[in-house]
Symmetry: C2
Subunit: 122 residues, 2 copies
């Protein structure tokens, strides 16, 4: 810690300081990194991932259908959905006593698609 403007190490072999400085300028800020990590972290749980892929396929599903599709308890699903909803990743709509969830972000949809590609033909 406490390396605020510390640019005084690792110059023994090659002067990579220029590269480091250039990288720093174009780099995501620490704050942006936190927000990006937050997004990935939300996708980084098997239960939440399955829920999201189910919504990606089905378009819209109620909690009980999601509970059935992913095989975990309804409360676990609800807790998971709350996190995703708070982050703006999914949105909900009430119809009678059921609540239907859907993906709420085009970029997330692309992320899910792309990473599935990575897994299957990567």
């Amino acid at each position: 810690m406490e390396v605020v403007a510390g640019l005084d190490a690792c110059t023994t072999v090659e002067p990579d300081e220029a590269k480091v400085a250039a990288t720093r300028d174009r780099l995501v800020t620490a704050e942006e990194a936190v927000r990006l990590a937050e997004l990935f972290r939300l996708l980084g749980d098997p239960t939440r991932a399955q829920l999201l892929y189910a919504l990606l396929e089905a378009g819209e599903l109620c909690v009980c259908d999601l509970t059935e599709t992913v095989e975990v308890s309804d409360t676990a699903v609800s807790h998971a959905l709350r996190l995703l909803r708070t982050a703006g990743i999914v949105a909900s709509r009430r119809s009678g006593r059921m609540i239907y969830y859907r993906l709420a972000d085009a970029h997330v949809r692309m992320l899910l698609d792309l990473s599935r590609e990575h897994l299957r033909h990567g």
Copy 2:
């Protein structure tokens, strides 16, 4: 738990069982979901995210440059890089006493790009 073939709930209002069954067929398996979540989980930490974005910008950086770019201890960087290396997300190359790291996966590069888009113009 213990809902192995349980298809007997939530048919009160609409018969969504067909939708659930169809979704299940095209859905990622539980095993795939675990692997996908594992990938996202690795991106889902501020330190690792910053390291990856630094590599995305710079192409290749040694550990000491990464330590300087991201402001955490060298051991923390090393631990983080080991996780990413084990998962095949980054690769390393030794040159003298330095070890240079680079992104090792085109899909991951796209994921990083896409999510940055999401953050900045989403």
